[in-house]
């Protein structure tokens, strides 16, 4: 019985469904944090959660469990039976861009806190409306 349960989990479309539910759950937590939290750092965390959820969904739906990572072992020269490397390249770039924006946002938040002592997004009403 146990092995049939494990086999059921192996099937590709089951894994894709798990990935879809899991990453959208993470996306939901990020979106929820974005809409309800008011502290700047919390908002940055929520946006990063949303971004991580998108990357997990992207890779989780596109990978094939039976194919290997797109890297050759020693001595081989044929790139066959491998996963698609382009999503890896895209996500690699997007993660580093996300981190750069993240660090910039943190430095903006520090400077703003130094000048006004506030980190609450709602109370940022310097400008006349």
């Amino acid at each position: 019985m146990m092995s049939s349960l494990l086999d059921w989990f192996i099937q590709p479309d089951v894994i894709t469904a798990i990935v879809a539910f899991g990453s959208m759950g993470l996306f939901f937590v990020g979106l929820f944090g974005l809409l309800t939290q008011r502290h700047l750092i919390k908002i940055f965390i929520s946006i990063s959660l949303m971004e991580a959820a998108v990357f997990l969904y992207f890779l989780g739906t596109i990978f094939h469990r039976e194919l290997t990572a797109p890297i050759l072992g020693d001595g081989h020269t044929a790139f066959t039976g491998m996963n698609d490397p382009i999503p890896h390249a895209m996500i690699l770039t997007a993660i580093v861009i996300g981190m750069a924006l993240f660090a910039l946002g943190v430095s903006f938040a520090i400077e703003y806190y130094k000048l006004t002592g506030r980190t609450d997004i709602n109370k940022m009403k310097e400008m006349g409306e």
Binding site: L31, L34, L72, L104, F108, I110, E111
Partner: protein, 236 residues
């Protein structure tokens, strides 16, 4: 959008709204069947052999889609510049904190060489094993961060780091322009790269060269970012 009422109403409405949005997205995602079609990456895997690079992801990041990496390096460069601008006003503040404890100092003295060695390894072997410029650069920056935390008077050598960063940036764009002048394709692989020396250290033409330059640039920029942020937070 500033709710005057107390928190719970805002949380519940936020909860309900985001739940609704995500559920609609989820239903659409689950309905759309993802059939196994031949994507651009599989075509690239076919071409990749003649570049002689064992790590297909590195050849995609640096050569096939090298322009994205150049753009991405520009993003990191601007971010480091912006953070430097934001915290530059207090550069002169002396860091008068008390010496951190002895255990941390000896541990970091022991660990720093290995972290840097590992970072350099990841950078140089980027085209053979998983890893590469970005990962290597950030590992080296985390080593520098360890020193910054444990030694109060440790300062990242500003002149050396800026020189390294400038040199790396200029050589990256020049390699790209060389590809343009020699092969008429910007970022073209003008150095010899054939399948025979797959897996050797010197393989894949300009690909390992670019990834090491990327590593140097990312490493120096991240240490500048970390230095600025530590400098900033010590100004109490």
């Amino acid at each position: 959008m500033n709710f005057k009422r107390d928190i719970p109403v805002r949380t519940y409405s936020g909860f309900a709204l985001s739940a609704l949005l995500v559920l609609t997205i989820l239903t659409i995602l689950l309905q759309s069947s993802v059939e196994k079609i031949e994507r651009a990456g599989d075509k690239l895997l076919g071409i990749n052999a003649q570049e002689g690079v064992a790590n297909a992801v590195t050849s995609v990041v640096v050569y096939f889609r090298g322009f994205d990496t150049l753009g991405e390096i520009a993003v990191l460069f601007i971010a480091a510049l912006g953070i430097g601008l934001m915290v530059s006003s207090h550069k002169s503040a002396q860091r008068h904190k008390e010496e951190s404890n002895f255990i941390l100092q000896t541990a970091s003295k022991l660990l720093f060489p290995f972290i840097t060695l590992f970072g350099v390894y990841v950078m140089i072997y980027g085209h053979l094993s998983p890893g590469g410029g970005f990962q290597g650069g950030v590992i080296i920056a985390s080593g520098v961060l360890l020193l910054l935390i444990s030694y109060q008077n440790f300062e990242v050598p500003h002149a050396l780091i800026t020189a390294l960063e400038t040199l790396a940036g200029i050589s990256y764009v020049l390699i790209g322009l060389l590809g343009l002048w020699i092969l008429d394709h910007f970022l073209g692989n003008f150095l010899p790269s054939d399948i025979s020396d797959m897996g050797m250290l010197i393989s894949g033409g300009i690909i390992p060269l670019i990834y090491i330059i990327v590593g140097v640039k990312v490493g120096s920029e991240m240490s500048m970012i970390v230095q600025n942020l530590i400098q900033r937070s010590d100004d109490e």
